[in-house]
């Protein structure tokens, strides 16, 4: 089963929509609540990163019998130093974004912790791609 979502940069009030939709579907598929919660955390953080840091993104979700695979490709500033971005506490979020409670530099570590596989790649100046897998 495949689902597609468009994510708009800067659209904070819409952030979380894709994650909620996917969560609903996983519930209907009777996936274990613990696994669903992990996926929801990872998906939300990835979604918010596009909203907070990029211009726009496309999310593709593939649900198979034994796993979920999510790929988000965005157009944006990209990430110069992936290793640094992965460190807890590192953030380039603007003051405005921080005031809303984003920018703790915990999103990417949250994704890492809640997924079985995570691949982050970027071309600085063009965009970022994140691929994650969670096994059921």
């Amino acid at each position: 089963m495949e689902m597609q979502f468009h994510i708009e940069g800067g659209d904070f009030s819409g952030a979380g929509t894709a994650s909620s939709e996917v969560k609903k579907v996983l519930k209907q598929l009777n996936i274990s609540p613990m696994i669903i919660r992990r996926i929801a955390v990872a998906l939300y953080e990835a979604e918010v990163n596009v909203v907070a840091h990029a211009f726009s993104g496309e999310m593709t979700v593939n649900i198979e019998s034994d796993k979920i695979q999510i790929c988000i490709v965005d157009e944006g500033p990209g990430i110069e130093d992936i290793e640094q971005a992965m460190q807890e506490g590192f953030s380039t979020a603007s003051d405005k974004v921080r005031e809303m409670g984003f920018g703790a530099g915990m999103g990417l570590p949250n994704i890492k912790r809640n997924t079985d596989e995570m691949k982050l790649s970027s071309i600085p100046g063009k965009g970022t791609t994140i691929e994650i897998i969670v096994k059921f």
């Binding site: 952030a15 979380g16 994650s19 929801a40 939300y44 918010v48 409670g101 703790a104």
Partner: protein, 118 residues
């Protein structure tokens, strides 16, 4: 006392502590299990557990998505922070309870700590 813990509802907690439900009061039937205090959304995403009460001074729409995805029992917005109507409507749509406390975070959490541990 054990019986009280097992059957404690948010409604009872709101009445006992003098909080105000901003979303539909008839939905305050969940049982809160402990609380988590943070104004950082990804901190809550990473560390809060289902059924917890989330105490925060954030009042914008994203708190609804966080509470819904984490299956938190309620958000307690402290310090008389204004929660706008579109946030309340979104919360009701997603079955998220929003409660207001007119006290600051420190007092609110103190009250909750004593109440939930009694």
């Amino acid at each position: 006392m054990l019986i009280k813990m097992e059957t404690l509802t948010l409604k009872q907690l709101v009445d006992d502590l003098g909080f105000v439900a901003l979303t539909d009061e008839t939905r305050l039937n969940r049982t809160p299990e402990s609380a988590y205090v943070s104004d950082l959304l990804s901190d809550v995403m990473g560390k809060a557990k289902e059924n917890m009460i989330w105490v925060t001074s954030q009042a914008h729409k994203n708190i609804v998505a966080v509470a819904s995805l984490k299956e938190l029992s309620a958000i307690v917005v402290v310090n008389e922070r204004k929660v706008s109507q579109d946030v309340i409507e979104q919360a009701e749509k997603e079955n998220v309870n929003i409660i207001a406390s007119e006290r600051a975070a420190f007092e609110t959490v103190g009250l909750l700590f004593d109440y939930l541990n009694s």
